[in-house]
Amino acid sequence: MHIYIHIPYCDSKCFYCAFNSYTNLHFTIPSYMKSLTKVITKALQKNKQKIATIFIGGGTPSVIKPQYYEEIFAFLKPFINNESEISIEANPNSATLPWLRAMRSLGVNRISFGVQSFSDEKLRYLNRAHKAKDAIKAIENAYKVGFNNISLDLLYDLAIDSKELLEQDLRLAFSLPITHISTYELTLEEGSRFFSMPKVKAQKEELNFFIKETIKSYGLKQYEVSNYGKICKHNLAYWEHKEYLGFGAGVVGFRKNYRYYSHKNIQNFINDPFFCEKEVLSKEDILLEKLFLGLRSIVGVEQKILPLNMQERANLLVKEKKLSFTNGKYFNEDYFLADELALFIMQN
């Protein structure tokens, strides 16, 4: 079983970000956490399965005091074992030493820091609440309290980005005790400040290749479009099209053949944490999802799920050396072309 828990609070709103998170509703944290605990306990009341992964994401999970997590973990304990991957996201300004220590002792064994860059100028430009030195400190502290699976996020393709700047960001990142790195090309998301400012995006295709090559030279293997290093089992489950439960405001869960969506608005979630809206997926929907998810990661696509005409198109790609085929599965090695490959296979 895979569980996602959402924390919809942040200390500042980053200009690129359209995630469901709020900067002025911290006063609702106690009641939010109460509702969150309520849904989780209710949902897992009759559970007998073991939990393979938990991912606490945001928003900013590090704005929440450890005491709130304790109650939830107390309840989850019985379903967790040594193999379970328990990840949390953290921001450098709020992930203090005591907070990190508390998380570690709750059993969290993977932590992912939203660093974005080690350039203070770029951080200001993104409206981040931290500086480069805060990020370095936080990661060192995490290592100190016993985290040995540490990741950080970088964001690129901003107008101020250059190969030099990114090279510097990566050099600093790899001077820290990390096992994983996520590098995200900026997307202009509807609902973010940058959405109406297309010029902030550099549109420099070569930066993608530069980042990929540089990270490879540091010895981490790419296993998805934006991810390198020790595989995050939770995210892998998404790309494998596995079922997952989602808890919190504006989350999505997936079971059998439907996705469900909770209330996005914090107050609505607090009032009615059990609310969910269903989206039923057709066979074609699921096929398509398996196709593009498999091609954007090491997961690959099983030949037998594809109708014959799509198999033909896929075989053509194998012939042209755009895909490889082993053990009944198609694999893509150039994740950056994933969508184009999926479209090529879908076309008939």
Binding site: Y4, Y184, E185, L186, T187, E205, N208, F209, V225, S226, N235, Y238, W239, Y244, G246, G250, V251, V252, G253, F254, R259, E279, D285, L288, E289, F292, L293, R296, L316, L317, E320, K322, Y335, F336, L337, A338, D339, E340, L341, A342, L343, F344, M346, Q347
Partner: protein, 603 residues
């Protein structure tokens, strides 16, 4: 309420002019002055009833309306025909004038005489019509009616002493114009007692009433219940109903009398048997002499139309058949292309006609179409002595089998302010034009007459002409037959394969330059794909120009976690739909615009 009429008080007239000089707007004012449409139902260019006409602000099809006007206590019946000004539709002018005794020659007071003014006047003069010069748009600040009147006298030789100054916008002069119509345009002089003799000058298909004929009765009359004969086909039909034409509410009548115009309802399922130019007469007592009729409208420009979805071929055939019911000038026959599958080779009157037809097919019949670059007809004399007609460049025989190729020429008439003469002569030279005539009509207007290969002017010449003369020159053309040319077929290869739908016929001396411009244009239009795409131009087996579209480097969104999957799937579905609008040629996706790309290349 059917108006009894003797020929004495009937006036049949057309409104003719250069494009945009205000014919349809003038018709609005006349209709209003006659009170034929209530204020509430009135709209601008009322007679432009098709959506495309309204959107583009141009008239495509001539429209007739019957009006009642009172002068000096006497009622007159005015049958007005508004005609299109664009050269593509000039055959509409011919048939309208054949049903009229007179015409209003409208000239824009700020523009003066233009190429289609002259072309249309000549048709009127051939038909022996009474012409009333009407200077329109006198409300414009730069209106110069005196200059324009002199220009008409000097260039056309038409006496303008008796003219009317109007503004179709403000209504100034309309009453005076109506009085003049009554006074000057001759009443019809048919023989009321002779056998029925009526000219079909338009026909169309109405979903409720079936095929309809719009006629001008020259002799005798047509009565409800009468059995008539269509003289061309010898077919006999019963007249079910008769109506007077009106854009909003046609009025029923028991008979259409000598000199009148009207619509004949016969309950026919197809307009096939109602050829424009044919004569209607009485079945039992036919007239001995049918009306001479007209040459059917001849298409000049040919292009392939292909459905993007290959299984829509039959739908396209149905749509073309339906459209043809109201557009006799449309011709088509099935053809097939290796690249595009099954489609039709369609003949058009010109580029505007082609645009209009394609747009109507897509809109009214919900089709997604690819149009290939338009071409003219070539005559090819083969070495074995056979002569063939080539409507599609890919059908041009192998060079070793060609003895001679002949291409159609037109006589192009251009009227321009003299400062642009230099630019125009340069353009016409580049287009292989041969000067026939150059006259100063007055100190600042020049008439140029050139013989030009039609291929050089039907496509983009008009736009070029307008841009190098800042819109001040006007242009008209008429076909003058075929002449030999030194021509070759230029093929385009995409990823090594000849794409037949992209082949063009070009003058040999320009092949290299055209080929290079063409491949570069295609490079701009073909998006990057998974594979590098080579684009080459060739003559026979010789490659004369090449370029390539680089392979795509990245197409994927950065993030896709649990919450993004649905959104992402929808995005891909949208992209897929976008790609569907492209044509797959082998593994290469080619956008629709590419097939018309040749039109955009700078010559």
């Amino acid at each position: 309420m059917s108006q009894k009429s003797s020929q004495e008080n009937i006036r049949n007239f057309s409104i003719i002019a250069h494009i945009d000089h205000g014919k349809s707007t003038l018709a609005d004012r006349i209709i209003q002055e006659c009170g034929a449409v209530s204020e509430r139902k009135m709209s601008d260019q009322l007679l432009d009833t098709m959506d495309i006409e309204k959107e583009r602000g141009i008239t495509i099809k001539a429209q007739s309306v019957r009006l009642i006007y009172e002068k000096d206590g006497k009622e007159y019946i005015l049958n007005l025909i508004d005609t299109p000004g664009h050269v593509d539709f000039s055959y509409e002018v011919s048939r309208s004038l054949a049903s009229s005794e007179g015409a209003l020659l409208v000239v824009d007071a700020s523009q003066g005489v233009e190429a289609q003014t002259m072309a249309n006047v000549y048709i009127a003069i051939e038909n022996d019509l009474e012409l009333i010069p009407v200077i329109n748009k006198i409300d414009l600040p730069n209106a110069d009616p005196d200059r324009v009147l002199t220009e008409i006298e000097e260039t056309i030789g038409l006496d303008c002493t008796d003219h009317v100054l109007v503004s179709a916008k403000t209504g100034v002069g309309i009453k005076e114009l109506l009085d003049k119509i009554v006074d000057r345009i001759p009443a019809p002089k048919g023989d009321e007692n002779a056998p029925t003799k009526a000219l079909i000058y338009d026909s169309w298909f109405d979903n409720y009433l079936g095929a309809l004929a719009l006629v001008r009765v020259f002799d005798g009359s047509i009565k409800k219940g009468q059995t008539i004969q269509i003289m061309g086909t010898k077919e006999e039909h019963q007249v079910l109903d008769l109506m007077y034409p009106h854009p909003i509410n046609p009025q029923k009548t028991e008979s259409i009398n000598t000199g009148e115009i009207g619509i004949v309802v016969m309950g026919l399922k197809s307009v096939e048997g109602l050829k424009v130019g044919d004569t209607i007469t009485d079945a039992k007592n036919p007239t001995p002499t049918p009306i001479p009729g007209f040459e059917p409208a001849k298409p000049f420009v040919f292009a392939g139309l292909y459905p993007i979805e290959t299984d829509k071929f039959e739908d396209l055939r149905d749509a073309l058949n339906k459209l043809k019911l109201n557009d006799a000038a449309l011709t088509f026959e099935p053809e097939s292309s290796l690249a595009l599958g099954s489609g039709f080779r369609v003949g058009f009157l010109g580029m505007l006609h082609m645009e209009v037809v394609k747009e109507r097919l897509e809109r009214e019949f919900n089709l997604d179409l690819i149009a290939t670059a338009p071409t003219v007809i070539y005559k090819v004399l083969k070495t074995d002595g056979e002569e063939i007609i080539v409507q599609n460049p890919s059908e041009l025989p192998d060079p070793s089998k060609i003895d001679k190729i002949f291409e159609p020429y037109v006589k192009a008439t251009i009227l321009t302010p003299n400062e642009y003469v230099g630019n125009l002569m340069k353009l016409l030279n580049e287009r292989r034009g041969i000067q026939v005539r150059m006259d100063y009509l007055n100190e600042n207007r020049v008439l140029l007459e050139y013989d030009v290969p039609m291929n050089e002017i039907v496509m983009d010449f008009y736009d070029k002409l307008k841009s190098i003369t800042r819109g001040y020159a006007s242009f008209d053309y008429e076909p003058i037959g075929f002449r030999e040319g030194d021509l070759v077929k230029l093929d385009i290869r995409v990823a090594g394969e000849v794409v037949d739908a992209l082949s063009i016929i070009v003058p040999r001396e320009k092949a290299r330059q055209r080929g290079l411009a063409f491949v570069n244009q295609l490079k701009e239009l073909i998006p990057r794909q998974l594979f590098e795409v080579a684009i080459q131009a060739s003559i026979g087996n010789t490659i004369i120009a090449r370029t390539n579209v680089r392979a795509m480097g990245k197409n994927v969104t950065a993030k896709c976690y649990g919450g993004d999957i649905t959104r992402k799937r929808k995005l891909l579905e949208k992209q897929k739909a976008g790609k569907k609008r492209m044509k797959a040629i082998g593994k290469v996706q080619v956008p629709q615009e590419a097939f018309m790309a040749v039109l955009k290349i700078d010559r």
